[in-house]
């Protein structure tokens, strides 16, 4: 079963993750930032959609000139208590104007989904051992918030 949550539903995931090196899978592919930087020309020229994965140490500004060519940025939560990707998400949405898919990967758990959504994430790869139906309930935990929503709001944001 899919573990990817988008638009308040579990959806099939067309994307494949590429390693730091080695052959690329066909179709839509997510590469780590270092590989994107090293193989930028080839990657942009390739068939299929392209996504880049940032680690919490990476500066989203490194993608500033390329966001228009990217369909997806994946931000990693090595542990759910590591909150750096929340700042990266807001910077990508608000400062750099990224409007593509912003995906949370790694230690992604139910009780943080709404926080992620409110920072601009619109896709969530739930950790493998967690019940996705249970997790979908998270988006209804609150009907109000004290902070303004992230702007510009990307299409399809929960």
């Amino acid at each position: 079963m899919s573990r990817l949550i988008k638009n308040l539903a579990l959806v099939a995931d067309p994307w494949r993750e590429a390693a730091a090196e080695g052959p690329l899978p066909d179709g839509d592919v997510i590469v780590p930032l270092a590989r994107f930087t090293a193989e930028r020309e080839a990657l942009l020229a390739r068939e299929g959609r392209l996504g880049v994965r940032l680690s919490p140490d990476d500066d989203p500004a490194a993608l500033a000139g390329d966001l228009g060519h990217l369909d997806l940025v994946a931000l990693a939560f090595p542990r759910f208590t590591d909150g750096r990707a929340y700042s990266q998400a807001r910077l990508l949405r608000e400062r750099l104007g990224f409007a593509g898919e912003l995906r949370a990967v790694g230690d992604v758990l139910r009780d943080q989904l709404l926080l992620m959504a409110r920072c601009g994430f619109d896709a969530f790869e739930l950790r493998a051992d967690k019940d996705p139906d249970d997790a979908l309930g998270a988006f209804a935990d609150y009907s109000v918030a004290y902070q303004a929503p992230v702007s510009p709001a990307p299409g399809g944001r929960v």
């Binding site: 208590t81 590591d82 909150g83 700042s87 609150y142 109000v144 004290y146």
Partner: protein
């Protein structure tokens, strides 16, 4: 005081519902303890030595009589009949059951209270001057800004998993009663040359293992830019604060590593790039919040000091006036402190009966409002001067007129090893021993202002670094021993105490304090404070007496 609007009510109700669900998922195993812990902490729930402890926020230290009665009811229903006021304008209940925690939160929500972000690695409840809106030396009331910060920080989606806890304190007065220099962010309301209101911004102060005073990164921040600027500080911290070592994760370590100037530049750059207009506090926003903190309807009173005549006749009343009654910005009113200290009391503890009695007296004498101080006392903030005698009698009957505020026995103490899972030593019995050694009220008054702060471990919840006399409990090969520091202060010329000498066993601490006080009494110039004397003489003058005395004693 602040009253909830529809958004606040909805939010707090949803928060209770969410936590109830999280507890249920913890109990049926869908959440592991590791996953649950940060969630319960952000709802104020700690696992202590003997039970769960719930830390409830008292925003800006202000309570209504109705709220205080609700706290009393919680103490009776869910705890063992008492609560403990902390150094951060919170109250802690020590004997809470996990399966009842959400019920307590629901009971709090009924009276517009909560435990949100009183713990955890997030922006903690904002603290301020307990005399806000009362003190004659106030430039502007800090509470509307505190409330705006509370709203901004509540479940802030970007800052709910910071490297470490984050504490903001605000002062609006000339005398800093909020200890802003020992907070992650300290804000001081100031006026610029044109009379506009703004903030001096300090960052990177804190106690604990690495005590350090905050550095000024901005002399004047227009008040309307407060939220944007604080958000910029938090973003720099969230991105670059250390996460590899919890002892190095506070913002003070980042500020120290970068240097305050470089840190300030990073904040300015972040702030400049931000949607500053979108974050600005407009006048309407501020006014809406400020109306909640409007002063009560003071009566026009003729005699400015009617208590004087009675004080002439009644020395006990005079002593109480001298220590427990403070001036008010309105001439015919006073602020009355109630010491939760002395007579063997556990510093900061109050029984349900005491809370109810104080709630009643607040209704009779102080517009139904109670304040909680970081020194673990209560305040009736708006007492008409001509009511002082009646209030004093009522407090005396209730055993709440101990005239010791600010003296040696008005001790700040954390719960220590009697409750706290992190403690290395007990704090409460040490406070009680000092209290017993200074039982003579006339002597306490003669000594005057002298702050003793006790922490049961290096986490420093008892703020020992900034006491005139600081006492830190440490564990030495399985024995509880105590390290004394002298000359700390959290006030305007904030300073950290200097270690006096080798640690002392528990039964020698009160005697050592006695000898330190003796030196002060013998050597002080007229009007010289303890802090001034320590700065003038250095700690060695005290050291000789304390440890010399001990040798003589042992011989």
């Amino acid at each position: 005081m602040y009253r909830y609007d529809q958004l606040d009510r909805t939010f707090v109700a949803e928060r209770v519902r969410q936590f109830r669900d999280q507890v249920a998922r913890r109990l049926d195993g869908r959440l592991t303890e590791d996953e649950f812990k940060p969630l319960r902490l952000q709802n104020g729930l700690y696992l202590q030595l003997h039970a769960y402890m719930l830390r409830v926020a008292i925003p800006y230290g202000v309570l209504s009589s109705r709220q205080l009665r609700a706290l009393a009811a919680i103490a009776r229903t869910y705890d063992k009949g008492y609560g403990h006021y902390t150094t951060r304008q919170n109250i802690q209940f020590n004997w809470i059951r996990l399966d009842q925690a959400a019920d307590v939160l629901a009971a709090l929500a009924e009276v517009e209270m909560h435990a949100i972000q009183t713990s955890g690695n997030c922006v903690r409840n904002v603290t301020t001057d307990h005399l806000a809106g009362i003190a004659p030396d106030e430039i502007a009331d800090p509470r509307p800004y505190c409330e705006l910060l509370r709203q901004w920080s509540t479940l802030h989606p970007e800052f709910s998993f910071l490297p470490r806890k984050f504490k903001i304190a605000v002062t609006g007065a000339e005398a800093d009663r909020a200890a802003i220099a020992v907070h992650d962010i300290g804000l001081r309301l100031v006026l610029d040359a044109a009379g506009a209101v703004g903030f001096e911004v300090l960052v990177g102060g804190g106690l604990g293992r690495t005590p350090i005073l905050g550095s000024v990164i901005r002399r004047f921040l227009p008040a309307s830019d407060l939220l944007g600027y604080v958000e910029a500080i938090l973003r720099v911290y969230n991105r670059y604060g250390r996460r590899d070592n919890i002892y190095k994760a506070r913002i003070k370590i980042l500020v120290k590593a970068l240097g305050a100037e470089a840190f300030g530049r990073a904040v300015e750059a972040e702030w400049q790039a931000m949607d500053r207009d979108g974050m600005a506090i407009d006048a309407g926003m501020l006014d809406r919040v400020a109306t909640h903190f409007a002063p009560p309807a003071y009566a026009e009173l003729a005699d400015a000091a009617p208590e004087r005549a009675q004080a002439m006749r009644e020395p006990a009343f005079a002593r109480w006036l001298a220590r427990n009654v403070l001036p008010h910005r309105v001439p015919c009113y006073r602020a009355v402190m109630i010491a939760l200290k002395g007579g063997g009391a556990v510093p900061g503890d109050a029984t349900a009966e005491t809370m109810e009695r104080v709630a009643d007296l607040a209704e009779l004498f102080s517009f139904g409002e109670i304040r909680v101080t970081h020194t673990q006392n209560l305040v009736l903030g708006h007492v008409a001067a001509h009511d002082l005698a009646a209030l004093w009698h009522a407090l005396r009957v209730a055993g709440l007129a101990n005239p010791v505020v600010g003296t040696v026995t008005d001790i700040i103490a954390c719960p220590g090893l009697d409750y706290c899972a992190l403690a290395t030593a007990r704090a409460i019995p040490i406070a009680q021993a000092i209290d017993a050694a200074f039982a003579d009220v006339a002597e306490l008054h003669d000594i005057g202002d002298l702050r003793i702060n006790i922490s049961g471990c290096i986490n420093s919840c008892g703020h020992h670094h900034v006491g005139d006399i600081g006492i830190l409990g440490v564990d030495k090969r399985g024995q509880e021993v105590y390290q004394l520091t002298l000359g700390g202060s959290s006030a305007d010329e904030a300073s950290l105490g200097t270690i006096l000498g080798p640690s002392l066993p528990p039964d020698q601490v009160a005697g050592a304090v006695r000898r330190v006080v003796d030196v002060y009494m013998e050597r002080r110039e007229p009007g010289e404070s303890f802090l001034a004397l320590v700065r003038r003489l250095g700690v060695d003058a005290f050291k000789a007496r304390v440890y010399g005395g001990l040798e003589a004693h042992a011989a």
